[in-house]
Amino acid sequence: MIDLSYLSKEEQEVILAVLKRDAALKKAEEQRVKQLHKTMRDKSKLKYMSGEWFYETKSLRHGDRIHGSDIIRASMRQRKPMTILELSQIWAEKSSFVNSENKDVFVPPELSGLIEEQPAETKTKRCCWFLPPSESCITSHTNPNTDSPDTSPSTKNITKPVPRKRLLLYSSQNSLLDNTDPADRQRSSVIPRGILKHSSSSSSSGDSFPLRSPLSSPLSPQSPKSPSAEYGSLSWLDRKQVRFSPAINASDTAVLQDGRELGEHGLLDQESSSSTFSDQGEEEDTLNTITTGNGVNNSQSYGQDTKECPGSEAQGRHLTSPSCSSPMWNSKPTDRQREEKLDMFLGCRQTEMRGCDESRTQKPIDQHDYHADPHADQVSSLHASAEEKGDSVDTSPVRTTAKQTNIRPMSISKSLEDISALPSREERWKNDPRGELNLSVHDVSAGLSPTACSFLDPEQMKLMSMSVPAFRQQESNGRDSDCTSDSSFQMSTPKRSTSQANLSMSSGMASMSSVSGSVISIYSGDFGNVEVRGTIQFAINYVQKLGEFHIFVVQCKDLAVAEPKRNRSDPYVKSYLLPDKTKLGKRKTCVRKKTLNPSYNEILRYKVGIETLKTQTLNLSVWHNDNFGRNSFLGEVDIDLSEWDFNNTQMSTYPLKGRVPSTPKPHDHRGEMRVALRFVPQTHSKGSAKSGEVQIWVKDCKNLPIVRGVAIDPFVKCTVLPDTSRKSRQKTRVVKRTANPVFNHTMVYDGFRPEDLREACVELTVWDHDRLSNHFLGGLRLGLGLGTSYGAEVDWMDSNATEAALWERMTEYQNEWVEDWLPLRMLIMARSMSR
């Protein structure tokens, strides 16, 4: 139900007229379909001529076949929102083919909690297609105590408004920071000067343009060289201000920039710290906890959670972030937040079910409320801690601070802020007990926002608020899915914790970070300890006409019992075309409940060229779907497609095999990059300290690891640390389909004093450009590798001998190009670097 009370009478009439026309069309369509059913013999043709293919898909996603127009009509008929039950009755009256069939499919939320067969999984899944992994990671551990939707039918009835449409100021956020009031800026730190980046030899716009708003022009109060007008809307052109700030806690600038490159840093998050979550939609079978990096504590604390002690949430969190030295991270969430999240979660589901959100109109109040909550900032900090986990190996205080500063604004921009909430935020900040001397960027940024807020003209604000509708939703959906996986911890049995712990211990972030999402499920050693037995029957076929590879999964027989207590398994089959282990490469059948001999008769499809296919291995694995805990591995089969006779489309039965727990094996080999460096001191200095520019000529790479399919689309990103701001980042173009790309791209950073060369570090990272998330291939860091920068210990100053040698040569032979082939390696990302 949607609250349409905002519509005027006239508007309602107009809309009703439209709906009437729609109803007429629909009626005619029904007639036609009826007729079709009578006359059409060809069932599959019938399916698309009748539009059934569409309704089927739609109902899979939305859980019903309700038409948008019906929702609206019902909403209008009933000025006050109806309950879902009433709604369902309304819809149940109609049973025409096009309109509904909802007797079968429509499950009111009240009931869904009671119906066991409701796979929570699908609910989760549908949202994550576009969900950047980073977000899922942020939210996924925040709330282990959230009641699982399926265990608490009563709560489902809550029709509390969902803070769903939280608008996110991501683009303006940039400007908030950039338009910093100089005082604040100063407080935040010591940015001695900017390094100007200019004249990139090839376009470096990359994929960073999409969300550039006019507001986000990188004005910098510091830089005399950057009059705002000049940069106004040209910010993606080559010439832009690069703030090169050696002070670590000034790196806020970088982080706030996110949102823009969502897809992209999603990827880095995924790569660098929390691989599993990229796959969270379903991967309860993977070790959700692994990526937190503190598996031991995790599993223990979650084990305790099972006992449902009210305080356990906080406790759990406490345990999960042992390395977070900041008290901020240890803060206890209030019940309120918990409820909020729960509501959000439930609401999210609900609105999904309804396909509309009545909650919208009530939102402003709700938001207000929420943001006015003095603890709201803790929510962010929880996010921060969740985000943090991958890095927990490291306990350096500096690092932690760095992370804190980096993360903080980011969680602001990502999660909680929105325009309508600004006033209350302002208030909060006014009362913020933290003193002005506090250098934490989080305060700085917080303090800034209201100031910057005044920069926005109200019209603009309105525009912004209109323009960013979805972001928040995405996130609440992320939450949705994460809550599901969170709840899994409640149920996770102690038996699993050991192996979990082992794995997470052994899998420091360095080793895990290169692998994306599902790899965990592929490589990890913990599969739930269920014995492997039984068979799987399937057929495979390459459909030339469609350019698709089809796996027809017929059935499994004699599977193991995954849940001895309930004596059942709820198996489903999942496929990958190895070596592609990305989430996009995953296909699944539906879950068959309570059976050891599931019959699927489903086709899993891949759009893939036959040539590619012939280099791949089909991995079919069977999993027990556990709505509450992690899914358990029931066995698998690998088919080497290079040896497969594609004329054979017969159904074959294979025995399921177990999996040898192997240690995560990231790519040891990452290829090499040829790069030349040159330091050119500026001679025409005007009294001030002489500075120069560092030129980085990325020539080419060879033997890059092929992380997906047969081809990768590599590009190189460059940042000069410690400046991690997005603006200082430059990129080469993407070279398509090659593991040996030639870039010949020169990046120039200026404003380097000779002494800066000792403190800075050029980080070059190679990425595989993928539509939704780029994959990290390898990187290098050019610097002296001394472990410190401007007096602070930093972990990114970790250049190895060859890298450092090149840098030294550059310093030594000024004005000359120095060049070398350097092996690419895994990088432990400075947190902000991954943005």
């Binding site: 007429a24 599959s44 569409f54 509708p469 459909v543 699944k588 539906c590 008769n601 086709i603």
Partner: protein, 222 residues
Amino acid sequence: MSDGEYDYLIKFLALGDSGVGKTSFLYQYTDGKFNSKFITTVGIDFREKRVVYKSSGPDGTGGRGQRIHLQLWDTAGQERFRSLTTAFFRDAMGFLLLFDLTNEQSFLNVRNWMSQLQMHAYCENPDIVLCGNKCDLGDQRAVNEEEARELAEKYGIPYFETSAANGENVSHAVEVLLDLIMKRMERCVDKSWIPDGTVRSNGHSTADLMETQNQDKGKCAC
């Protein structure tokens, strides 16, 4: 429906910021006319058009084209109608996502519309065509073709620069979308290679309650 029979009812939906020209675009497409006056759409509206689709597939089903009845939903771009308009996203088989080439913000918002779609559409990756409208206003252009193309590429969707004023690319964009839908449809149901009678469910890769429950029903449906 006075003009008799058709073979398929295909529903599209146009979306995008307010004022980018959704209504004009559809009006141009269905009626070949343009009205430069700005009339905001109240919530939702739709137009219809009958077209004949000839498969452009490799197997070229040649022969008689298929008669398509297009229902083209027009949505209000204004925020205040948002909850209403998104309710219709689920009913469309394909989407025309428009922005205004002379208005950068409308382009920046494409991303948000995309995520709205992914959230509310009938499936996670619906067919979408991105249209940079008002390409006739060359002198006022604020979004260059390259960046728009790049964005479209990122999403893996086709991009056209259209003009509802002079009709440029308007029908082409719709046709491309139609083609995508028709292809998808075939893909959705083509399981000819599987022995008769074995396929019960749709073979959709997502598991779902309905699937399990409707198993029996499904059995006879295929």
